[in-house]
């Protein structure tokens, strides 16, 4: 059996104008949880729907276990489970009826009872879908994807709009599926979700992959695993921009600093060893006669990777 998901040079152009996906290639191995991380409008949903066989690409090829979508779509559909970004399931059916309905489409479905247990929906089995909370609805959406006993699970923004507890519940469910040998492809614009859940991920922006690797890899590429963020008093920020740029280069010579960037009024340093950088930083601020207004250190995240690659935040409005 071939690679679960493979695509080369995918392009999708809407109405001959809007290029939603611009030459995207991926290869996702068995048992992997792979994430497409990117801001809204980056082309994640278009990409995943092409891989799911719901959209035809303008050009490029898709292989699911080595098969193209035209070969035998019904067989491919038996192998995959899908949760779309927004599906409003029928409100006047019960949870069990909904799962049974989806089960009836598959050749060898799992039993509704088993899926209900798996997704912690047993208590709600006889409730109408319309009465469920957002988290329960989302779990039901994943249940309809899992009831066919798929080998690949496609999840488009599975936790968008959910409370933290519901998100963690879903992450658990996805991990359990993975442990049983399933392959997962999900899209998200939450960096913490990508970091915790995904074995590998691709950062997507403007329809292209701008970085790909394990979360640790990607953060490694920043140079430092830590971020020192600080702000100096007004007499510095009041001065002209030119001087600040001069400052920026001054910061980069501090010990252990890998890169520097300005963010609003703060300055962010990616550093390897904060215990070396921070004393030197304090000394430099003192020497310049500035006042330190704020100083914090944190672990570098995918957000920092994204900002460094694009100059924008993931969730900019």
């Amino acid at each position: 059996m071939g690679v679960p998901i493979e695509c080369t040079n995918l392009r999708k152009t809407y109405d001959g104008k809007v290029e939603a996906v611009r030459g995207l290639s991926l290869r996702i191995e068995t048992g992997e949880c792979f994430g497409l991380l990117g801001p809204n409008g980056a082309g994640k949903t278009t990409t995943i729907e092409i891989l799911e066989g719901l959209l035809a690409p303008t050009s490029g090829s898709v292989r699911i276990f080595g098969h193209a979508w035209n070969d035998n779509p019904r067989q491919l559909r038996e192998w995959i489970g899908i949760s779309l970004q927004e599906t409003r399931l029928s409100e006047k059916l019960s949870v069990r009826e909904t799962i049974n309905l989806f089960a009836s489409f598959y050749d060898q479905p799992r039993s509704a009872g088993e899926v209900l247990d798996d997704l912690q929906l047993t208590e709600k089995a006889e409730s109408w879908v319309g009465k469920l909370s957002g988290g329960q609805k989302q779990r039901l959406a994943v249940a309809t994807a899992l009831v066919g006993n798929p080998r690949i699970l496609f999840l488009d923004e599975p936790t968008t709009g959910l409370d933290p507890q519901s998100r963690r519940q879903l992450w658990e469910i996805i991990r359990r599926f993975q442990k049983k040998g399933g392959t997962v492809l999900l899209t998200t614009h939450y960096m913490d979700e990508a970091e915790r859940l995904c074995d590998r991920l691709a950062i997507v922006d403007h329809g292209e992959i701008i970085a790909e690797g394990t979360p640790a890899d990607l953060i490694d590429r920043l140079g430092g695993h830590h971020v020192v963020e600080f702000q100096v008093a007004d007499n510095a920020s009041a001065s002209a921009n030119g001087e600040r740029t001069g400052e920026k280069s001054a910061w980069s010579t501090l010990p252990g600093v890998e890169s520097v960037r300005n963010e609003d009024h703060a300055i962010c340093l990616n550093v390897r060893e904060p215990h070396l950088t921070i004393p030197a930083l304090l000394e430099a601020v003192n020497r310049q006669g500035h006042q330190l207004e704020h100083l914090s250190t944190r672990q570098a995240s995918l957000e920092d990777v994204f900002v460094q690659l694009t100059g924008r935040h993931l969730r900019e409005d």
Binding site: R88, E97, A103, F105, Y106, S111, A125, G148
Partner: protein, 380 residues
């Protein structure tokens, strides 16, 4: 239908309460039958309908209420009295006596009024005709040739006055009133309501519900499963047939029990005709809904499609009143064909084969719509 053991069974939901450990038989991977998807889709459609009280009312209750209301309104209504106003003058009282006679059941209701008031009341439609007795014994009539009851009133008043002054009739005429079951308005109405109800629920039940599912991305979600598209459409059409039996049955039984409507034709013929009608309108509904993205836009479309048939297809009154040139077009409408065939079978006991042209019209509407709809249908 597939005969091997299938899971899950629509009619027998699995036991659920508290039993968290799946029974051994549940664990064993079982294969779904070829038709499990179809059976479930059909089952779920009927289930959802049952749980939607508004739909149940509009599909089943509304036509019944309509037939009840109209049936009562037209059932025991006494013959309209012709209302006449006599302009006050020397011989006004005498004319009044001649018109009203001594008979309490007289078909004329006459009053005397001053000239201006009389004409004003006539113009407001309070009276059908104005009679002015002249001094020389002649009469002057004011009537409105555009109002049938006014035209009739003039003739009737002349006839009554002639008779009152001793006219001798040269013709012997015997009249018998026709209000036997089978020829009353309610007997005309109920087949029309059956036809209209099949059209309504075909258009809304298929058209509206499909666009709703498309808008909710549920069609797209189904498409992401191995569900056969043909099974889905088949389930939609089958649910129409199930509902057709209930709709037609309810109205027929209602008409027979409440209004003693005679059903002259065979029930088998009605079942076949009802099925063809339900599927024809299901096809038209499918075509109407094949591309619309929003329920608001499909609602407008459905009304545009149905409006001409409400007016022209003879639901509430005969379409023979329309200009002769329009009749071929009117008769080509699916609802006209359905209503005419329903009336022929229910009221005249016609056979199915005698209705073959109308059945063909219905089948063509259904078949062509269905074919076009399949071609243009959007799942997303």
């Amino acid at each position: 239908m597939a005969t091997e053991t299938t899971t899950p069974q629509p009619s027998a939901p699995q036991p659920s309460n508290g039993d968290t450990v799946p029974a051994p038989s549940e664990r064993k991977p079982q294969r779904s039958g070829r038709w499990s998807g179809y059976r479930y889709l059909l089952w779920v459609r009927l289930l959802e309908l049952k749980r939607e009280p508004e739909i149940v009312f509009w599909v089943f209750g509304f036509p019944l209420l309509l037939s009840l209301g109209l049936g009562i309104a037209f059932r025991e209504k006494p013959a309209d009295k012709t209302s006449v106003v006599v302009i006050a003058g020397a011989s006004a009282e005498k004319t009044l006596a001649q018109l009203s006679g001594n008979d309490k059941r007289s078909a004329i209701h006459a009053v005397v009024m001053e000239r201006d008031a009389a004409l004003k009341a006539f113009h407001y439609g309070k009276f059908d005709v104005v009679v002015e007795p002249k001094a020389d014994g002649s009469y002057e009539f004011y009537y409105d040739p555009a109002r049938p009851e006014s035209v009739y009133a003039r003739l009737f008043v002349v006839d009554t006055l002639e008779a009152a002054v001793g006219r001798i009739d040269k013709l012997q005429v015997v009249s018998s009133a026709s209000s036997e079951p089978g020829s009353r308005y309610i007997d005309f109405l109920i087949p029309g309501l059956i036809g209209m109800s099949l059209m309504n629920s075909g258009m809304w039940g298929v058209g509206f519900s499909l666009v709703d599912m498309r808008q909710r991305k549920l069609l797209k979600r189904f498409l992401a499963t191995p569900m056969r598209r043909s099974d889905f459409l088949l389930a939609v059409m089958s649910s129409r047939l199930v509902l057709m039996v209930i709709e037609v049955g309810l109205l027929l039984v209602f008409g027979m029990l409440v209004f003693h409507m005679p059903v002259a034709g065979a029930f088998v013929s009605l079942a076949v005709l009802g099925s063809i009608g339900a599927i024809a309108f299901g096809g038209v509904g499918l075509l109407t809904a094949c591309r619309a993205q929003k329920v608001e836009s499909v609602s407008g479309l459905i009304n545009v499609v149905m409006m001409p048939m409400w007016i022209f297809s003879g639901v509430f009154f005969s379409y023979e009143h329309f200009p002769a040139k329009a009749l071929p077009f009117i008769k080509a409408l699916p609802l006209t064909a359905l209503n005419d065939a329903l009336r022929a079978i229910i009221l005249e006991g016609a056979s199915l084969s005698s209705q073959s042209v109308r059945l063909l019209i219905l089948a063509l509407w259904g078949g062509v719509s269905f074919a076009l709809a399949l071609r243009w249908f959007r799942w997303t």
